[in-house]
Symmetry: D2
Subunit: 496 residues, 4 copies
């Protein structure tokens, strides 16, 4: 496919990937919008900072004010490094703004600023900006159709389809055009959009990705997570419902349900990994859910040991739960370097596990001679787990037991999460015992699907016939057909 | 009108304007393209460097090679500061490339990288890039129509209309789509474009802006001026004719004439000011034309004096001609600082004429007590002329006589030149004697319209009924109706 | 005093301070050196990365190789942002290198690159570079004397005195000159230095600041802390002894004791706050010491409550210890944003506690209705503590009890730690109950001096007549007379 | 083809050299100082801008005001790019400032900011800053002696010796210490220095390098050339005399003559090449001197031809003089690209003379078939001359005659000018006819030594027994023994 982008990008974002060793699933985006407050862009910058864990590669803000029209700033790098500058923020005046943080899904490709959202389009009835969290599963087909009809794409982003569909809609208002466009779109989408006078929020019919509504002063806020309400002192009102489109003006919130109603399938991985532990999803504390997974795990897969240690930072809540349930003391056996590392140049003198050592170090004096339970949030490729096991043994641990706070990740996500191809997922090719041998640990146990469902409050576990959540990455059961992927050769689970 | 652009731009280009005091007309663009040579982008960088005088604000290059597809780099600032970096140039591989330098017309607005050409569009039959020198006089109307049909504009540039018109054309090949699009376009355009296999050049039916064809090795070159052929050692072949569209592949040059034939009206100001003195236009040396203007001026408006001094650098050829015709010695009475200045912070201690002093200094020892003829290329607002007169008198000159190598500039250009609004043009509101008093000089004389035509080789001067050139900026006779401008309130010359 | 430095620095380091709210004591420096390994500078970069918590403002590396001589790079900002670039690291070849990270002590002054260590001097017998952790208490007097004798200082750093004293020494070798120079110096110093063939380490006679020796491959390492040995896979050998000067060549380590012997007084605050929890000091795990402080604190100051929550991250080990001793469940009631913030522009809409909210958020669902024990490492000005208390109460906590893992900080440190002036220290002007009222919490208890000494392994607590550690910041008993400070008006504790 | 670029330097200064092809002698420095005016640093920035031709690599300014003490800013790059920023200039308050622009002499070495002047030293009686134009011919010996005595050098600059000598002087005031120091120094020096209350200027006993005194408002100015007085509207008072030291305070100018009196030997190359044509030296217009050289050259070496063309820009005045004396028409046969080029990446397609083409282009239409006299200022290596001849012939010239406005440059300068080593100087190894053949031109003539002396006003030409000027670069007669160079193997002219 033709590309139009500079391979040698001035902004080196390679460290974003290195820092995480490519061994975690990545949320791709966070969205935020606010209406009815002065300096809306400053609120948006704070909100995006709180959502930074959902996308570290780039961020953008669009604001509107009557005198200045729409203004936009899109930048690579962290929110704190760009949207804290007085000179930049002064270019974003107005009481209405939306923003976006993103983690690229584009694999080996270099990021280009044209791909950074929000996207803007000028329609006959005025301009609109749009920011999208999720993934469109029929984007390839839509893009082809739109180009044939004369649309000129400026980005490689699938989300740009939405704005071209809106440009071609025969409807008369922007919210109507958005409904029209979204009816053509398949996949997962939580969208925050704006016109000159309206803040708009939409969730796809299954409600795969989150979106919440809050109030601050006389204004209204939309955000991917509640933690972004907290940072600006906003009050949490409710979640935008699956399939709901809200149109917010200064005079209040209108609710629409433009799509055919379906049973919701919220992404369960938001609970177990993506969302911040201080966020609230579906009235449940994310932290508490994760602690509860540790409790369930200790019930399902107990083991005799001297210490329960989290793999920092995301394993902490489950490790606390595991310790409390098992009575085995909790300890920080692995310390995280808070100054996370880019790729240092490794000295030729051979150093094992450099990648991991840059962010983690074992508390040798604590570990030596002990039987250690390590609680981690997930195993994706298994590369990090192997290195951590090695560090722990180097430090003199007597035994190493892994307990994983999510089921085996055996399937890629096509709904807005960056996952390796299926053959790179450890759990796609090995069963638990094979993984244990591969990681060379004394024991390895994952929480069961039912255990995880219990931890999120489903007392009876998973409803196998009609699951309460989207758990495709564990189960291989995709609630929306990934048609572009199938077109490119992806094979659905045989039983389906 | 709605705008979407960051006012506080990271690249400070203010000095571009300051350096010239806003007191000259500016060519807006230069275009260049090459096919059939290795490292076409390097050739293009050199060509754009030679065309830098046609646009200093920004530049862009698009190249194509089979393995890498289309690649693009657009940057603010001089060609020499961007397109000399190995790391950047390596991102532009291939044997086919086009480029563009631009000077913004957008008045007080801040430049944005999205406005920098070449523009790129992906069509059903493949991608194309396009670079435009000129101005579309019905762009506002076209833009409105295209938006209503669902096109999404990414830039504020009028040239973007062309690529959207092409996207919507029903024709089957890109050259055909370009013809189709350009038939809807009014105004002046010299275009260089490319597909995966073709280099395309077009001039509008009047041939207002220049475009020349050259050969280098086995390849072909298109360029705004011949000086860009010289820098790469290319051979000048011919001008692209008014109304001609050339399609160049490795196998040669095809010529098309898609427009209704009209009498050409080349821009006479290219001869007298815009083009580089070492370029050749219509087989005439630009330098020689300017020297000849000095000769004509000395015949039309002689004066007794001790020295003929050019206002550097553009007044030099006419001053040489004036000196040769009049027998009055030529001298560098004003010296130009080659390290042109941005806006220095002026000390509070009052300093007169700081702006001009940063680039010009009077050769005091030479000037003192002398009667000086100053030869300048043009008078636009008159601000610089006043300051120069003051410097010359400060240095002790006995008399100051201005001789101007172009007629009074009384009308704005709407064909790709940055001119002040009409009421800012000194000659729009004053006659020659009023201007002389305003500038407070001993005498002030402009070359006549006929004198200028004689200098460009029209022995009988201007054909008043059917002028040989576009001279609207002097005569107010616009060969293409400036419809967008009239829509916005511009009044044509009464007699018309 | 005269200064020669640019106030408006191109590198904005203000966020370093903001990020920490100026409400913690700061270690000023970390030092590292390595000899006898290829690419010594790469090892040094990794070591400095592991020591980054000891100084975030700037870092520098000097290396030596026979062909290239001494090379140096000093940069503002994090190690990971500078010393990871291939192009930079290639300029630092050789098998011998030393490095330094620093946190400025210069209060409101802007940092200048000339102040960044290592310092380099060329002596008659060759060059030497030196990096210093600590503070010279008679630097002002030394500087005055040296200037009078004709030395020209290039920095504002007190450490520069050492190299000028060396330049004027009559001794014949660099180690001898260093001994000669250090005998004139009062205060605390852990120094890593290098000549063309030697790596040198020195600790002051009291051994106030740490310095350890390790081995990697055939080479030797000096480092402020053991965590920097771990990152490069080096083996910890021993601490450099108080008053010891080690001279390391490829053939091994020579030990010298050039100073009059004194009873060591290691800085106790290295145990309780500065050092990384995964470092080992005096054969004790820093993490374990801090956990033990929590245990002692729970014994000394128990309270009924529902949750024990650390103030992240430094309160974690003590909170774990407190929870284990008290049986009250441990919980992450406060979540830290890992993307630490610079100063965001606060929206005018009033937002309380913005500074703290940028890095901390309360786990509302967890805290609501609970009696919470908050364990923090120290209280300096008290500003952060107040804001945290407010956040906790906003989230609906029933009671808030503060437990502080260090005694009240009532005196400034003059031995290499950045402390506020005495009147800014909360504990200098209030007793515990006044502080409790000031912070408006239900209870506030500090660990006792004796409790802290017990936690570091002194079973009988503090020896009041001859304390085992330097604890001047708590006790006001300064083991080295701060003569420059007294000259400037500082008053020692009355009893002294 | 020659390339000269710094591998890892953050500031790419390669273009400075490339732009000139290394084929001209370079003045190394310009100095400027002002006292008694508000915002002295802004005046200094303007003065340095006017002196930019004397040093393009870097510039620095030191200012003093009572509240802020001494402040300093030193930067690589042009004055206009650094010292125009409000944020920087605000850091340089006060009514007293000095500045320096420099062109490095350090050959292949990378420039470092530590080498950029003014240098600053703090002495027992207060601080002083110093900026130096010239070269110290016994610097190596001085440096060795000072290091042995315990001075620590921070730069590679020879000028730093002066400040260390001052630091060690036993005198009581800074002007006395400066006299003391300069009596130890051999070579050429024009110095501008400052204390808290004084502006000081000194010229070496021979007065090799220029220094002038001016008045602006109630303040005083020192500058390398008068063109820097013009830019700030200052009045030219007089030259500082050879061997004179002036101490300027608000109350006026004191004059001292601390050195043994010698017959002055001003650098004649300042007249013929270095100084700006609008400067005045010894009451003579530099422009007029150069024009007069052209007149003398036309008398000495006439030739039949059609056109006299300058090699721009420095050949212009002599070409005008040659044309006026010979009656052969003056023409701009070579056009200079005002957007001077860095090193572009040359396309592999072979392009001859790229280096020269980036800045020069031949006016083909003018030159074709003509006999052309090219007037250039000097021939150093001859590389540029060869390329220009080639371009002219390519353009179809019938004959090419070179006339050079200086005598053959056969000896290096050791007094502050960057010259190639002797064996790289064309005139060191060839006589005039050999050079003509080497350059392959129809004729080649240099102005004679006597002709040049006549042009600077010495009606009887050069006094061979006791030359009126330093003309060592032409004659090999060095008025000050270049002792460091002789130490390193340089051989003086045999006859000496």
């Amino acid at each position: 496919m033709t590309k139009l982008m500079p391979p040698a990008h001035p902004f080196d974002t390679s460290y974003l990937r290195d820092a995480e060793d490519g061994d975690k699933l990545k949320e791709e985006c966070g969205v935020f919008g606010v209406i009815g407050v002065p300096e809306a862009a400053n609120f948006t910058a704070l909100g995006l900072h709180a959502l930074q864990h959902r996308g570290q590669e780039a961020g953008g803000i669009v604001s509107y004010c009557a005198n200045e029209g729409f203004n936009s700033a899109r930048r690579f790098g962290y929110v704190r490094d760009n949207f804290t500058k007085q000179s930049l923020m002064e270019t974003l005046p107005g009481e209405l703004a939306i923003g976006h943080v993103r983690y690229s899904t584009s694999g080996g490709k270099m990021p280009v600023i044209r791909d950074v959202q929000p996207f803007f389009g000028e329609f006959a009835m005025g301009g609109a900006a749009i920011a999208h969290n999720g993934n469109i599963t029929n984007a390839m087909a839509l893009r082809k159709e739109l180009i044939e009809r004369g649309s000129i794409f400026q980005s490689n982003s699938d989300s740009e389809c939405i704005i071209h569909l809106m440009a071609r809609s025969l409807q008369r208002t922007i919210p109507e055009r958005m409904e029209d466009a979204l009816r053509r779109v398949e996949g997962a989408f939580s969208i925050v959009a704006m016109t000159r006078t309206k803040l708009i929020g939409v969730r796809d019919p299954l409600g795969v990705r989150p979106l919440v509504l809050g109030q601050v002063g006389d204004g209204w806020v939309l955000s991917s997570e509640t933690c972004a309400l907290d940072i600006i002192g906003a009050t949490y009102i409710r979640e935008v419902a699956p399939g709901e489109l809200v149109v917010i003006t200064k005079s209040g919130v209108e609710s629409h349900f433009p799509f055919r109603k379906q049973k919701p399938r919220f992404c369960i991985f938001e609970h177990v990994y993506f969302s911040r532990p201080d966020s609230i999803i579906g009235d449940r504390s994310v932290y508490e859910t994760r602690r509860q997974i540790g409790v369930e795990l200790a019930k399902e897969s107990p083991v005799e040991a001297d210490l329960v240690c989290p793999v920092p930072d995301s394993g902490v809540p489950a490790a606390i739960g595991f310790s409390q349930q098992s009575g085995i003391p909790y300890a920080m056996g692995i310390i995280r370097n808070q100054y996370m590392g880019r790729t240092f140049i490794e000295p030729t003198e051979q150093i094992r596990n450099m990648g991991v050592r840059l962010k983690l170090n074992v508390n040798r004096a604590l570990i030596a001679g002990k039987r250690v339970i390590l609680v981690d949030d997930s195993v994706v490729r298994g590369t990090t787990s192997r290195k951590i096991r090695e560090m722990i043994l180097d430090a003199g641990a007597a035994e190493v037991h892994f307990r994983i706070a999510s089921p085996p990740t055996a399937w890629p996500c096509f709904y807005g999460v960056d996952t390796p191809q299926r053959d790179k997922l450890l759990a796609a090719t090995m069963d638990e015992e094979e993984m244990r041998q591969h990681l060379a640990v004394d024991s390895l146990k994952f929480i069961s699907l039912d255990g995880m469902y219990r931890a999120v409050g489903e007392a009876n576990g998973r409803d196998a016939k009609s699951p309460q959540y989207c758990d495709a990455c564990f189960s291989g059961e995709y609630p929306v057909r990934p048609s572009d992927q199938i077109e490119q050769g992806f094979e659905l689970k045989a039983a389906e």
